[in-house]
């Protein structure tokens, strides 16, 4: 795509996202929008590792939940505001990813997936049982809401969902920017090299662990910030933020949408967030059935569209452009 066209498209999308809440008539709809944007950020941060360096961290929600706890438990005592809390959680989760990544990347890919999953389960157990610190199942309550200082008037506490939505949008922009710059630059080529053949990458002077750590840390910092947002939005942080069902959701979004593709991941997140809401309107699907349906969708897509829905879009686009004729390989 031409650069100019691309910029115009992005501006249109940004404009659309800014105007969108004005069309929403109820807080319910605004909440759906917030959830959708949060899943996009969640999935992009997960895909940095899973889709680009091939390190599927089944424990990714750890950084979300612990990030939320950091904001709930630590940030207020430091007197941090909204942005300060986001930064603290992002930094803390980046650091946690660095330390745990050094340990986890020593082991094979399968044990990496299982090991990180174990970390998630342990984190939830700790959150449930450390009553004195986290409040256990009673949750950490009364997380301070963001306070904005608008010139001319006094400090304003953010309560309305629509205002939270506007606080969330810059975070989405930042997540997209980081994702895009990491994967579309020369770093992205090193990511791809590490994912496709670690041995060959090493023989070319690429240190696989460095790039795995980079993707892991960037993803953790982004999702740590989102956890912080969630804490300040709901004002309560519960052990359920460390649930394994988030992992399942991430797998569905990323692999149905298209791992390693920003467009695919965003599409996956939007579908995942909006389809159930649409289903609700038409029929009453009990939540337990929803999980089953998700699982089935995942199986079907992986079976018939191993590269996700994005591969359909890619094919359609190529047809639109008029299939560029590539040189056929010479017989060797």
């Amino acid at each position: 795509m031409k650069r100019g066209v691309q910029i115009v498209l992005w501006l249109l999308v940004a404009g659309f996202l800014v105007i969108l809440p004005q069309l929403a008539t109820t807080n319910y709809l605004v909440n759906v929008m917030i959830t959708t944007v949060m899943w996009i950020i969640f999935a992009l941060s997960f895909d940095l590792s899973a889709g680009h360096v091939g390190a599927v961290s089944l424990g990714h929600p750890v950084f979300y939940g612990v990030g939320a706890y950091v904001t709930a438990l630590v940030a207020p005592s430091l007197g941090l505001d909204f942005i300060g809390s986001l930064l603290l959680s992002a930094f803390a989760m980046g650091l946690l990813a660095l330390v745990s990544g050094i340990a986890f990347f020593r082991i094979s890919e399968v044990s990496f997936a299982i090991g990180t999953l174990g970390a998630l389960i342990i984190a939830q157990l700790l959150a449930n049982n450390a009553y004195d610190i986290t409040g256990g199942p009673m949750c950490t309550q009364n997380v301070p809401r963001p306070v904005l200082h608008i010139p001319g008037s006094g400090p304003v506490t953010v309560v309305e969902p629509v205002h939270y939505y506007y606080l969330l949008l810059p975070l989405l922009g930042l997540a997209i920017l980081i994702y895009w710059r990491l994967t579309q630059s020369r770093i992205g080529r090193a990511f791809a090299a590490v994912r496709q053949d670690e041995v060959r990458a090493s023989a070319m002077g690429i240190y696989p662990k460095r790039y795995k750590l980079l993707a892991f840390i960037a993803g953790a910092a982004i999702i740590g910030a989102l956890g912080s947002f969630q804490a300040q939005y709901i004002t309560v942080v519960c052990p359920s933020e460390l649930t394994i069902s988030y992992t399942l959701n991430l797998l569905i979004i990323v692999f149905v949408g298209g791992a390693g593709s920003m467009r695919g991941v965003i599409l996956g997140a939007v579908l995942f967030s909006l389809l159930p809401r649409l289903l609700e309107i038409v029929t009453d699907v009990p939540p337990a059935w929803q999980q089953l349906i998700y699982g089935l969708i995942l199986l079907i897509v992986i079976r018939f569209l191993p590269e996700g829905l994005d591969s359909l879009i890619e094919r359609a686009l190529q047809r639109l452009r008029g299939t560029r004729t590539e040189a056929k390989p010479d017989a060797a």
Binding site: R181, R189, A201, A203, M204, A327, K328, A332
Partner: protein
């Protein structure tokens, strides 16, 4: 042997065991600058193991490897590669989902810019480096006859083409030592001659090459020196015509 030229690579008493199997036992030899040295030996004699030990993919059990006088034993593979030793793999390796051109560019990106931030921002210096790298890549691809398929993903290439691509990628950073593990194995007759000619031309341009091959006839004409391994031991080291006549070599190869 060639006292006026310094050794680039010194392999000293290299020893490697695998669970009871001795893959390498006390192997020593030197590779001199500008030399084309062939390492030959029957199947399982330890040639690939020696490559893996020198390039850091296997831990060495005994002995050491010096590169330009510096001990590089058991360094990480990526560090050894960046020092200027590049290798190919016997079981040809390419990045299957990258195009031919991207495969070439991936071979030099660490060389060109170590700074992560600059790479993330894509500074103009980076764009310049990328441009020069692309030009070099296309020259090399042209040389091996792959320039017309440069936008094709590597997985669509034939086996022979992938061997040529891997060969071309190790040339990208203009390394001091080029190590080729059976570059002509498994390719058709015509391609074998092709490949051998490329290797010979490179050496004529002054490149230092360590070539592994188990077909003795293939390397007789182009090598300046030949080292022969058998059951992990060096059994001969010398000029091609001397090695050919060597009793121990004949026994290892022909059993008489």
């Amino acid at each position: 042997m060639q006292p006026e030229r310094p050794p680039v690579l010194q392999i000293q008493n290299l020893t490697k065991h695998f669970l009871g199997v001795t893959a390498l036992q006390d192997v020593s030899f030197e590779l001199y600058e500008g030399e084309l040295l062939s390492l030959i030996g029957p199947n399982g004699s330890g040639k690939t193991t020696l490559f893996n030990c020198v390039t850091g993919f296997l831990k060495i059990d005994g002995g050491r490897v010096l590169f330009k006088g510096e001990d590089i034993s058991n360094l990480r593979p990526d560090k050894i590669a960046l020092k200027g030793i590049r290798r190919t793999f016997q079981d040809v390796r390419t990045f299957p989902e990258m195009t031919v051109l991207e495969n070439m560019l991936a071979a030099v990106q660490q060389h060109q810019e170590e700074n992560l931030i600059a790479r993330m921002l894509g500074t103009s210096r980076i764009h310049h480096l990328e441009h020069t790298a692309t030009e070099r890549a296309r020259e090399l691809l042209d040389m091996v006859g792959l320039d017309n398929v440069r936008h094709l993903e590597a997985r669509h290439l034939s086996y022979g083409q992938r061997k040529l691509l891997e060969f071309a990628t190790v040339l990208m950073p203009d390394p001091d030592v080029i190590m080729l593990d059976e570059p002509a194995a498994g390719v058709s007759g015509e391609m074998v001659t092709h490949m051998m000619n490329h290797i010979l031309n490179l050496n004529r341009q002054g490149k230092t090459i360590l070539l592994v091959e188990h077909n003795m006839r293939l390397v007789m004409d182009i090598s300046q020196r030949i080292v022969v391994l058998d059951y992990g031991r060096k059994i001969a080291d010398g000029l091609p015509r001397d090695v050919r006549m060597d009793e121990k070599v004949r026994e290892a190869y022909f059993g008489h």
